[in-house]
Structure formats: C-alpha cells, structure tokens
C-alpha cells in the first residue's frame, strides 16, 4: 500500500474571534493525483492550506505529507511541500531571480544549484527575460507565474496552488496549466483550489468540495459528474418564440426575444424537444450548455449542504 501524498485527519481550526473555520476535516490525496479542493469564499479552503503549509496553527487534528506529520516533524514535512498562495507574498523590490534563489536558500539549497533551478523554472514559466527586473514591474499574470516558479525551487513532491489563476487572462492561464499538468505528469502531486470550475473539471482527477468548514463531497471527478441528472441548455432563436410547447420532463422558459432555456433530464432525448419546438414554429439556430457541469453540481451540493445544516 502506497503512502498517501496527503492524509488529513479530523483537522479543526477555531480562530481567536470564535469563528470555527474547520469543523473536523478528513481527506486523503493519493500520490500523483491532481486534486481539486473547491468551495465558496470563506468555506475554509485557505485555512486548510494555511495549516498544511504551517502558516496557520490548527486547533486539533493532524495532517501527514507523504506520511510525515506536519506537527511532529514540521521541518521534514515542509521540505515536501511547495505553496503558491492566493495573495502575492514576495518582496516587490527584489528581482525574480533573487526571489527564487533566496527561496531555495531557505530550504538549504546552495546558491549554485539554486541558480540553475531559478533559470530552469523562470524559463519554463516564460519569465527569464524579466529575471533581473524588480518584481514590482511585472504584470499581474507574471507575478502569479513567479510564485509558481518560486514554489518549484525545492522541487516539492506536493504542490498546493491556492487560486493561482485569479485575475489572469486566458492565454496566461492556459500556459500555467500546461506547466502544472507537465509537472503532475512527471510525478508531482497537485492540489488546486480555484473558482474557475471548468479548470478543475478539465484538470483534476479527484475532488473535495468544502463548505462551512466541512467536506460536503469527496470523490472522483468522473463519479461526481455522473451524478448530475439534469442539464440546462440555452437555445438561440431568431425571433420571439410565442407560446412554447409543453413536454413531459422538460421545463422550457423564454428568457428574451432571442433566447429559450430548456432544463431536462440527461436521459431525455433532444430529438423530441426539437420536434416539439419545430411544430410550434420555433427555429433553433444554435445551442449551448447554460453552465459547465461541475459548476451546476457545485452549486447544488453547497446549497443542499446548507439546507441540511439549517
């Protein structure tokens, strides 16, 4: 049996102001996994990541990184982690090259080796031409990539990315995911939190959804998506549709003169929908999913969890 990359056991955190951010979280991430940790703002994701990276003191419980307790053997456990935090946290007056070399130094990696690694990762993240400029002159996307390069300096076995693509344009986001997918393919376990759920759906193999300090879902991405039994389509029509047909198992709504929404079971065939619309003189020019599948499930799970808690 392989040692999990991460094993969180009944982790709790109550802040000094009484806020209970984590209410006994337990989860396991297998080595080599690309794992999504999703949840609404304030759910406890950053607190969990803070505890794992020793920036937040837990109230009780423990976590092990590749079998090493973060409480009993902090130093050894930290050596295995790389963290890309949500907020920018480097000295804006230092140069990216120095930021990376210094970070390696904090892990006890000598300057010669650190310089080679800094060059390697700054080049891979397309920052080498900015390596010797002050970090404050970098764009937002470059600063985010710099934090990834910095997190790679100790070549961690577990890389934790806390909303790394927040506010980053699509092209840079794609290049970041290409890099992270590459290191995951090379064996690094990746834990990702993001609000771009299509990213999580495309990249991650397993997922935990956390809300109000509790895990509300922890499964594989495939099994989670398979539980989605209803889909909503947006249909574009050239003119005002008038009276819509009534079809069993389908809810049709007119959104405006050019748009209809159809909510239906995944097992329901689309042919009968189009036939009914056609018989009512409605021509469909194009169609798309209203939201991505994971987003729909995410909203449902969080809402369902809150209803149960109420």
């Amino acid at each position: 049996m392989t040692t999990p990359a991460l094993n969180v056991n009944n982790l709790r955190k109550t802040y000094g102001n009484g806020v209970e951010a984590l209410k006994g979280i337990s989860l396991t991430v297998e080595p080599g996994d690309f794992y999504a940790l999703l949840g609404p703002n304030g759910a406890g994701k950053s607190t969990l990541i803070g505890i794992l990276s020793s920036l937040v003191n837990s109230t009780s419980g423990d976590a092990e990184i590749f079998g090493v307790s973060i409480h009993k053997h902090r130093s050894e456990a930290m050596r295995l982690i790389g963290l890309v935090p949500q907020e920018l946290n480097f000295n804006q007056f230092e140069k990216p090259f120095d930021i990376c070399v210094n970070q390696a130094g904090f892990y006890g990696i000598g300057r010669a080796e650190a310089s080679l690694r800094a060059e390697k990762y700054l080049k891979e993240l397309r920052l080498w031409d900015k390596a010797h400029l002050q970090a404050r002159t970098l764009s937002g996307g470059m600063k985010r990539r710099l934090m990834i390069a910095r997190a790679m300096m100790n070549e961690p076995k577990l890389l934790i990315l806390d909303e790394p693509t927040a506010g980053v344009d699509i092209e840079i986001r794609r290049s970041m995911w290409q890099f992270v997918s590459g290191i995951n393919a090379a064996g690094t376990t990746v834990i990702l939190t993001t609000h771009y759920l299509e990213e999580a759906e495309q990249l991650c193999r397993n997922i935990a959804i956390i809300d109000q300090g509790r895990i509300v879902q922890n499964t594989s991405m495939k099994s989670l998506l398979a539980t989605l039994d209803v889909e909503t389509f947006v249909l574009d029509v050239p003119s005002a549709p008038g009276v819509l047909p009534v079809l069993p198992g389908v809810v049709l709504r007119t959104l405006d003169d050019h748009t209809i929404e159809a909510e239906m079971s995944r097992s329901h065939d689309l042919n009968s929908l189009f036939a009914a619309l056609s018989s009512h003189g409605v021509t469909v020019t194009s169609m798309r999913n209203k939201s991505n599948r994971l987003e729909e499930l995410f909203v449902r799970l969080v809402e369902h969890g809150r209803e149960n808690a109420a």
Binding site: V56, S75, E76, M78, N89, N102, Q103, G105, F106, G108
Partner: protein
Amino acid sequence: MSAATNLVALNTIVRREIARILRIWTQTLIPPAITMTLYFVIFGKLIGSRIGQMHGFTYMQYIVPGLVMMSIITNSYGNISSSFFGAKFGRFVEEMLVSPMSNWVILLGYVTGAVTRGVIVGALVLVIALFFTDLHVAHPIITFLSVVLGATVFSLAGFVNAVFAKKFDDIALVPTFVLTPLTYLGGVFYSVDLLGEPWHTISLANPILYMVNAFRFGVLGVSDVPIVTAFIVMLVFVVGLSFVALRLLSRGVGLRS
C-alpha cells in the same frame, strides 16, 4: 534540517539583509553619518571647547565613544524592526515560515543583518570622528565585544517590537518614546558621576549606560561602571531577549494565525 542546510538558510537571510542595507544606503547609512557629523560639530567643537576635560579627555574625545555606540544601537534596532516588520507587512515573511528553516535560524539571520548595519554605521561614525579628534583604542577586544553585544541586545529588542507591531507607527513608538530618551540619559554626553542623588542611582537602571560605558572603556580606558557588570548586563539582556524572541516565533505570535 542539518547543520549544513541551516548554514545555507542563515547565509541566505544575512545576504538578503545586507543587500537590503546596501540597496537603500541613502536611508540606512547616510542619515546617521550626517546626524553624527552635526553632533561632532555642535557638541564636540562649538560647545565642547568651552566645557574642558572629562575623565582626563577633551569633551570631543569623551563623547565620541558614546555617539558611536548611540549610532550602533539606534541603527541595529531600526534595521531589524523595519526589515522584519516590512517582511510581515509585505507578507514575504511567509517565504521563511513555509520553509523547513528553524526559528533560531530566522532570528539569528535577522540579528546578524542588524548587527552588520550597526557595525557599518559605527565604523562610518568613527571615521568621521577622526576628522575632529585623535583616538587610540585602549582595549580592542573589549571594544569589539561591546559593539557586538550592544548591537545584539538592540537587534533582539527591535525584533520583538517588529513581531508585535501591527502598523508602521508601532515600530516608531519605541525608538521615539523609549530608545531615544534612554540613549540621551545613558551617559552619551556626560559622566553619570556628575549627577547627584537620586539621579545617579536612577541612571544605573538604564541598560544603555552599561553599553556606552563598556565601549568607552574599550576606546578610552575609562568607565562610569565596572566593566564586568557592564558585560553581565548585556549578556543577561541577550539571553533574556533571545528567549522571548524564540518563544514568540515558536508560538507564531503576530505571524501565524
């Protein structure tokens, strides 16, 4: 971490601190040199020439060790409090907190950086003083030890201040309301033997008095307090403040939520 990796980590912090001191040299090195030059001109030359001798030395010679030590103390304190608080404020202290580095490495790294600035500024002020008066170091080893210990005491105090500080005002309060008054009343400009009671006894409770006099003994060979007592006081402060600083780091006060 092994001794070798701790040494690399320590070296990294020290290099970063020295790079910071040199990067902002117009804030870290030049102002104390200008201020002390003014002290030498006004107190040493203009007023000092009318005061006469003190403990067998001209007034200028007498105040030089005090002013050098004052520069060392204030710059060591200022360096560590602004640098460490800046790291907290800019959140890049997290670079160190997420690393496997031990707390004592972080503390020693910042203290070494602050002592280095204190020594550089002290040396600059000493060189400037040589334009105004002749000086011969009476006890080089005592001079060196008093500089290192005095700078270490106030580096540690500055570190504790930075750990507790929540805003930049908090790191300015202690130098303004505690450090400056204690320095001025710590025998920089006068011998406490000139004071009557109860002021003489009250002055003996001022730790800066012992640092100034240890350094003055090292340079001139005269002191208002027994030299052994002065070193014991400094060592007690180093040990006590190190304990407090390491305890704060281990509990994560002001650093880990």
